[in-house]
C-alpha cells in the first residue's frame, strides 16, 4: 500500500483560487532583486578587502621598491646595451605613510558603509 492516493494527489495539484497573487509575486521578486544586489555589494567588498593588504604593503614599501626597480632597469640597460625604459615614480617614506593611512581610512569607511547597508537590508 502506498502512502498517497493518485486521485487526491491530482486534486491537490490544482492550485486554489487565491487573491493578490500579483502583489505577492512582486514582493518576492523585489526581495530577490534586493538580495542579489546586496550579495554583489558584499562580494565586491570582500574582493576589495582581500586585495587591500597587498595594496597597503605595496604602498608602504614603495619608497624601497621604486628605486630598486629603477636601479635594476638601469643596470639591465647597461648590460644588454638596449633601452629598457623603466622609471618608476619615487615617493618619500613620509608620503608613503600618508598614503597608507588614507587607504586604511578609506577602507574603514567603505566597510562601515557596507555593514550599515547590510544591517538596513535585513
Amino acid at each position: 500500500m502506498t502512502d498517497r492516493d493518485a486521485d487526491l494527489e491530482a486534486l491537490f495539484a490544482q492550485p486554489a483560487q487565491l487573491p493578490d497573487t500579483k502583489s505577492v509575486l512582486q514582493g518576492i521578486l523585489l526581495e530577490i532583486d534586493r538580495r542579489q544586489r546586496r550579495r554583489a555589494l558584499l562580494l565586491t567588498m570582500a574582493a576589495l578587502a582581500g586585495a587591500l593588504p597587498l595594496l597597503l604593503l605595496t604602498v608602504a614599501a614603495w619608497p624601497v621598491i621604486a628605486p630598486a626597480l629603477n636601479s635594476f632597469a638601469a643596470s639591465t640597460t647597461a648590460a644588454l646595451g638596449r633601452d629598457i625604459i623603466l622609471t618608476l615614480p619615487q615617493i618619500s617614506p613620509a608620503y608613503a605613510q600618508y598614503a597608507v593611512w588614507i587607504l586604511v581610512a578609506a577602507s574603514l569607511l567603505a566597510t562601515g558603509i557596507a555593514a550599515l547597508r547590510s544591517l538596513q537590508s535585513r
Partner: protein
C-alpha cells in the same frame, strides 16, 4: 539568441537560475507561486502567514537553487521547503497546539444562507482537525511519506498514519457529499 523565459521549460530556467539569472528564477517563482500558496493555505496557514511563508520558501530556494536537480518539478521542490518552514514555524509557536488536537474536534463548515454549495477541496479540508489537515495535505499535496512526516512533525509514526487515514476518509466523504449535493442542486 536570447531564450524566451515565459516559453522555456523548467530545466533551462533552472540552469539559468543556477548561473545567477534573477529573471529565470523570477519566471520559476511566477509558475510555482500558486502551488506553494495553495499548499500553505491548505495546511491551515492564515492568508498573511501563508504569503510570508511562501516568500521565505522562495528566498530559501533562491539561496539553494544550486542544489535543485530537476528530477521533480520546481514547484514540488519549493512546496517541500515551504512545508518544512511552516511546520517549524507552527512547532515553534506554542499557542497553536495543533499536534494535540484530536480528530473529533471538527470545526463547523460555514453555510451561506442555507443554500447548498459546491464543496471543493479547500472547503472539505476545513472539516478536518488541524493535525489531520496538516498530515493529509503534506502527504497528498507535497508528497511526504508517513515516515518523513513523523520526523518533520515530531509525531509517532502511528499517529501520523491515523491522522492521514482518518483525514483522507473524512475528505473523501466531504468531497462525495459535495458532489451529490451539486448533482441534486443541478
Amino acid at each position: 539568441m536570447t531564450l524566451d523565459l515565459t516559453a522555456a521549460g523548467e530545466e533551462p530556467l533552472a540552469q539559468l537560475a543556477r548561473r545567477g539569472s534573477g529573471d529565470a528564477f523570477g519566471e520559476l517563482v511566477r509558475r510555482a507561486l500558486p502551488a506553494v500558496r495553495s499548499l500553505l493555505r491548505r495546511m491551515g496557514a492564515q492568508p498573511a502567514l501563508a504569503d510570508d511563508m511562501a516568500q521565505d520558501a522562495f528566498l530559501a530556494a533562491f539561496r539553494n537553487v544550486a542544489t535543485f536537480r530537476a528530477e521533480g518539478s520546481f514547484a514540488g521542490w519549493v512546496c517541500r521547503i515551504a512545508a518544512r518552514l511552516y511546520i517549524r514555524r507552527v512547532r515553534r509557536d506554542r499557542r497553536q497546539e495543533w499536534v494535540e488536537l484530536s480528530g473529533e474536534d471538527l470545526p463547523q463548515l460555514a453555510t451561506r444562507d442555507g443554500v447548498a454549495q459546491r464543496i471543493d477541496l479547500d472547503q472539505a479540508l476545513e472539516a478536518l482537525s488541524p493535525g489531520e489537515r496538516l498530515c493529509v495535505t503534506l502527504c497528498h499535496g507535497a508528497g511526504f511519506t508517513h515516515e518523513e512526516l513523523a520526523v518533520e512533525l515530531g509525531m509517532p509514526l502511528g499517529t501520523v498514519k491515523s491522522h492521514v487515514l482518518r483525514g483522507t476518509k473524512k475528505l473523501r466523504q466531504r468531497l462525495a457529499s459535495g458532489c451529490s449535493e451539486e448533482i441534486q442542486h443541478d
